[in-house]
Symmetry: C2
Subunit: 313 residues, 2 copies
């Protein structure tokens, strides 16, 4: 059975949306991605938290079979983010960021992690992502996420990471920023030329696009939610669901990659339906199967068949 | 054979995009929609032009079997729009608008038009759209488009139109503005409650969503163009392709509606590949079949099959 390594942030979020507020709830890319991926494969989690980190969240990880030996407990407080979403939920507004113990995060893999097969490097400083890649023996599949900050401040290191991974995952704005073009197809093709085999561009409520080196493009819809309660973590849930499902399959091929995108999108839609991981952590295989079927109904259309020219011409 | 009535603007556009410029070329909703729809059914065109309108464009319409008896020639100049697109092609910037003869447009249908089966009311003043609806005898399917101006200035009349048609077609921004919600699903459901059977929300480079009264939603991708030369008229091409294909089918049902959305999207992608109608007017059935197949490849994914829980849990 493939093992999935997930490295990134673990945080405590305080946030408000038009549908309510929460104080100091579980957040961070590793939390969302690991819970999502743990539906399919054993997860090796790497992150850092402070002494204020509630034991109940560690229990949650363990209850999902997640290996938490790479979860470092340090003197001080856990990474904290405070923010809000306005009625238009596309944009998170940050009120406060306290990096706390995350400021000195330097991921060192426990020995038992170095043979992980699938690797998701969530958004952290590119030099840390490189460090992690150096510690992995022979990964089958590596995937990296990033953010606007690293594109503008540490582009060279980010390019080094991009060269070395199988897949780059980024959102619309980041793709445009990185490649200095408004056209997403052009951006994806630019990134593919840097080295990776695949690029996924996450478009939030508009779904996702996956590009491969052979010119293949897959367009996944987003699940049309009438109420988005809290979009925090949807992108990381997508990533975790994607790599988790892929690691679960016998082969990395076009069919499974596409299915993995739909799985990621489906799980992300659950995340957005409630605050923090409240909904995601309850999702069963039956729930997931049902939502997957809804994605099929959402995007199915029949072949065209023969067209008959109107007789008048 | 069903006849399609198309009412709206015909104009001469002067525009510049990062890929070139054109002076006084054919534009207007009726031009794009009619040429697209004429691939499938006989078109009854209604619009007004001035004495400066080049005969070559009338010839183009006629060469497609379009009935131009509803094309009114008036003293004065044709509607003119001058604008440009920046590198981000999502937004047209208007430099000049001269309504000219279009200012007094009052569509009166030739007698031979009143038994049209399919009706596309492109973006004109809602009271003119109501006038047209009053003149049609027993349409099988009516569809309306609009714009932000009418939503803010003549909302009551627009609501009257919406009540009376089978389908409302609008873009993301208009849907949000009309329904005062950022959520497109909520907006579509609000519009469906006003009376129509279907709503299509056009999302430009993100494709389109079609909603029906039974809760059915269809998400169509957009064709991923690496270079958009001129997006003018893509939305009207979509509309024309959609209603043209639908009119060509024996039945208005979910299968054909979805196929019509893909046809509309495919034709719209051709429009964006060149200025004005330069590409659209050359599109053959073979071109369309090929692009339709590309939409199939773009959005196809396999069923999930059984999920096996990871043994570790």
């Amino acid at each position: 059975m493939s093992k999935v390594l997930i490295v990134g942030s673990i945080g405590l979020d305080t946030l408000e949306t038009p549908f309510g507020k929460r104080e100091s709830v579980l957040g961070g890319s590793v939390s969302y991605a690991s819970i999502a991926a743990s539906l399919f494969s054993p997860i090796n989690m790497v992150g850092v938290v402070g002494q204020d980190f509630p034991a109940v969240y560690v229990d949650l990880f363990k209850s999902r079979g997640i290996n938490t030996n790479g979860l470092e407990f340090r003197e001080g407080n856990t990474f904290k983010w405070k923010g809000y979403y306005e009625y238009d939920m596309n944009q998170a507004h940050t009120l406060e960021t306290h990096l706390n113990v995350f400021a000195d995060f330097n991921p060192v893999l426990p020995n038992e992690y170095v043979d992980s097969d699938f690797v998701f490097l969530a958004n952290i400083h590119p030099s840390l992502q490189l460090n992690v890649l150096d510690q992995i023996k022979t990964p089958k599949f590596t995937m990296v996420d990033t953010m606007n900050l690293w594109i503008s401040t540490t582009k060279n290191e980010l390019m080094e990471v991009i060269k070395r991974v199988n897949m780059v995952l980024l959102n619309e704005g980041e793709a445009r920023q990185l490649c200095e073009t408004p056209n997403l197809v052009a951006a994806a093709n630019q990134i593919l030329e840097m080295g990776p085999d695949f690029v996924i561009i996450k478009k939030g409520e508009h779904g996702a696009l996956m590009f491969d080196k052979m010119g293949g493009i897959f367009s996944s819809p987003a699940y049309p939610l009438e109420m988005i309660k809290d979009p925090t973590g949807a992108g990381d849930t997508f990533a975790g669901g994607f790599i988790g499902y892929l690691s679960h399959m016998e082969e990395i091929n076009a069919i499974n990659l596409r299915k993995a995108v739909i799985i990621g999108s489906a799980l992300a839609s659950f995340t957005a339906e409630d605050f923090s991981l409240d909904k995601l952590k309850t999702v069963s295989f039956v729930d997931l199967q049902e939502r997957y079927s809804e994605f099929e109904r959402l995007s199915a259309f029949e072949s065209l068949g023969a067209l008959q020219k109107q007789t008048i011409i």
